[in-house]
């Protein structure tokens, strides 16, 4: 292989930084004028960053676990996205100032008069919530550092022992990840409506995180490949698998979303249906329909053709599309609690795209500064480069 490390352009840092600053200004303004709404916006941003960071970490672990070779050329890019994970600890702090605005179950007087919430209060209370959040964040961060460190050490001497170590780490991490992502989904998104419950909710959020992580990796890989930052031996065929995985996880998402909906629809019990009815009220109806088309039907039809998965242009379109669809998905999960009756999108929500895009650009630039963009001495690398359909 002929990979030589090239520094990413500084414009990435500059553009990202400017977007981030503007986004933070909008967020601060909305904290001043509409504090409750600002916390919901912040939760939206936080969950999206969590999707990218932790979803990428899960993808890295998945590659080690199943021994995939095609994804080895892209693994370092996924690792760079996963470097958002440690940042989540800092980003979580503002959330704790907004617990009262975000979560109804933190209102102790309301809980006392509500038998449903009272019976759930042994799980949904601030102390246990904090403990769970810390547990999840520390778990993810720890495994990110362990896996990424081994992977980087291998760049120096190419010792296959590091691959073995990472396989062991991934084997331990995967079941823990399943538990922790379920906890995170229930705590951050499902408990916004503490009366509602869905046992499939963790899987639903997980399917979204993987799509977001895959889409981010695909977009970055295609961009870097076009800019000549990656090895010249890396062919279009390797990208085919990224496109296929997005396609597959998109269908998986639709399957889970529909399973959740169908059971609620069938049972028709008021304690479950109100969550869906909230998302069918007024203009929320259009958001729900848009989610169906935007997240599943249109990408499904776009990606059904084989050539769309090896064509760089359509890969870029689909990955940006899916990132936007995941943002819409999160919006659909979070905001009906705040905007009862009608969906809303104001200047406050502009902070989301600005901060998310800016932050990811900055993280990518900073994190890629010290690393190779490809795991140069990974023993599986040559097999990954040789991958042909």
């Amino acid at each position: 292989m002929d990979y030589i490390k090239k520094q990413l352009p500084n414009s990435l840092m500059k553009t990202g930084g400017i977007m981030l600053v503007f986004g933070v200004i909008i967020l601060i303004l909305s904290f001043v004028f509409t504090p409750e709404r600002a916390f919901f916006d912040y939760l939206w941003i936080y969950l999206f960053m969590l999707s990218i960071g932790v979803g990428s970490l899960a993808l890295v672990a998945l590659e080690y676990l199943v021994g995939a070779t095609w994804s080895t050329p892209f693994r370092r890019i996924t690792e760079i996205f996963a470097s958002a994970t440690p940042l989540l600890i800092i980003l979580a702090i503002p959330l704790f100032f907004g617990l009262h605005d975000l979560f109804h179950w933190t209102h102790t007087d309301a809980v006392q008069n509500d038998p449903v919430l009272l019976s759930k209060s042994s799980y949904l209370n601030v102390e246990f919530f904090t403990a769970r959040t810390i547990f999840c964040l520390l778990l993810w961060t720890m495994f990110y550092f362990l896996i990424a460190r081994n992977s980087e050490k291998q760049d120096v001497d190419g010792n296959p022992v590091y691959t073995k170590k990472n396989i062991t780490l991934s084997t331990i991490f995967t079941p823990l990840f399943v538990i922790s992502i379920t906890i995170a989904a229930i705590d951050f998104a499902m408990s916004l409506e503490p009366h509602w419950y869905s046992t499939i909710f963790g899987v639903y959020y997980f399917s979204g995180t993987v799509i977001a992580a895959l889409a981010a990796t695909t977009y970055a890989s295609v961009k870097l490949k076009e800019g000549g930052y990656l090895d010249s031996a890396l062919g279009n065929d390797s990208f085919y698998s990224l496109g296929t995985l997005i396609f597959a996880f998109n269908i998986f998402w639709a399957y889970i979303a529909f399973s959740q909906f169908l059971l609620i629809w069938y049972a028709d019990m008021p304690e479950e249906t109100f969550w869906m009815i909230n998302r069918w009220d007024g203009s929320w109806k259009f958001v729900s329909i848009a989610l169906l088309f935007f997240h599943f039907i249109i990408p499904f039809l776009l990606q059904i053709d084989r050539s769309s998965k090896t064509n760089f242009k359509s890969l870029k379109i689909i990955s940006i599309w899916m990132l936007a669809a995941h943002a819409l998905d999160l919006y659909w999960l979070i905001f009906p609690t705040l905007f009862k009756g009608n969906a809303g999108f104001g200047w406050q929500e502009l902070s989301f795209p600005l901060i998310v895009v800016g932050l990811i650009m900055v993280i990518f630039k900073v994190s890629a500064e010290k690393k190779n963009l490809m795991a140069v001495k990974d023993p599986k690398m040559q097999a990954g480069l040789d991958f042909h359909l």
């Binding site: 529909f258 169908l262 629809w265 069938y266 028709d268 084989r306 042909h388 359909l389």
Partner: protein, 399 residues
Amino acid sequence: MFGKILKKLDEKLLKSEPRTGKLFAVAALFDKPDDIIHAAEKVTERGYKNYDVLTPYPLHGMDGAMKLKPSKIGWVAFIAGISGTTLAFLMMWWMSGIDYKIIFGGKPYFNLPPSIPIMFELTVLISAIVLVNSLILIYMKLPANANPLMDTEFIKRVTSDKFGIYIQADDPKFNVDEVRGLFQSLGSSSVSNINEAEYEKGDSKNPLLSLKFMGVVAGTCVVTVLVSYFVLQVLLFMPPFSWMHEQPKLLPQGKSNFFKDNWSMRRPVEGTVARGFIPYEFKGMPDSMVVPTPNPLPVTKKVLEVGKKRFDTYCSPCHGYFGKGDSRLRGQFPAPPSLHTEKVRNWKDANIYHVITNGQNVMPSYESSISRDDRWAIIHYIRVLQRSQNAPDSDLESK
């Protein structure tokens, strides 16, 4: 032992060599995946069109080596899948919305959400069936019953441990010696000619119609049926579950040793009447003994509707829907007299009640089938029927 029998059958029924048909292809075996990819590249370079590569497992890079265009089989699957979706949608819509309407959970008759799993399943099923059939159609070269490659040493090797390539004789550039030379120069471990599957001279009729082939198919069917019958009905036979039937409880009119009188049921305490079982005081007495009591029910729409329903269920089979005695059972049962005669019209309600409760002539007692109130409701309805057939002029004038 089983393998030996199969081998003997194989030799007896499916002669593999020597074949006398015209040359179908020249085939070559290679030992390593890299060799076969190299061979495929070279064969493509020479400009051969009708050739194919067979490997025991999919080889990455073969598409490029053979310069294959994207397969059109995807479109077959797509169209089959779409027809499956449409078919399932129409099926669900017709069945639940039109043909057999059942209210479920207060929902509309036809709903999209529960149809989606069916639509999904049928999409998969139809596309799978169509794909498998197209595969058989293409690979078996219907109407032939087998691809000429079948039962050759070549196909046996490429399905286990070797990589094979063959060039068909109908290729425009085909020349036996050239092709053999090409394969040998590429390092093939064995090159062979494959002839069409004709074992005797002039054996050119459609192999699907050959007596031997049809005999084997029919024999296989018979053996399969017999074996599955034996396995399911004799070898693995289990009596159907009877656990629901055998319960530790006393059945009515059954014997029990629990009580002294050996009855499983208890008789009511003397002098009491069970709830809802008001005895009829004129039971078994002639008409003349009946003391007329008025109909206890008011004439309301609700009562008449109950009466009509009960009349249509219990009375109309013999008396007819309008009480004219034109029963549906005519010819099998003696038809009862009309309910519109002078006699019946002048009967008091209590008399009709007496007949329903006691029975009359051939008519049995309906005491146990129709509840007390329903009997009185039927009487109101009979009065409605009678009025409808014998309306006085005043009825017309008052409207």
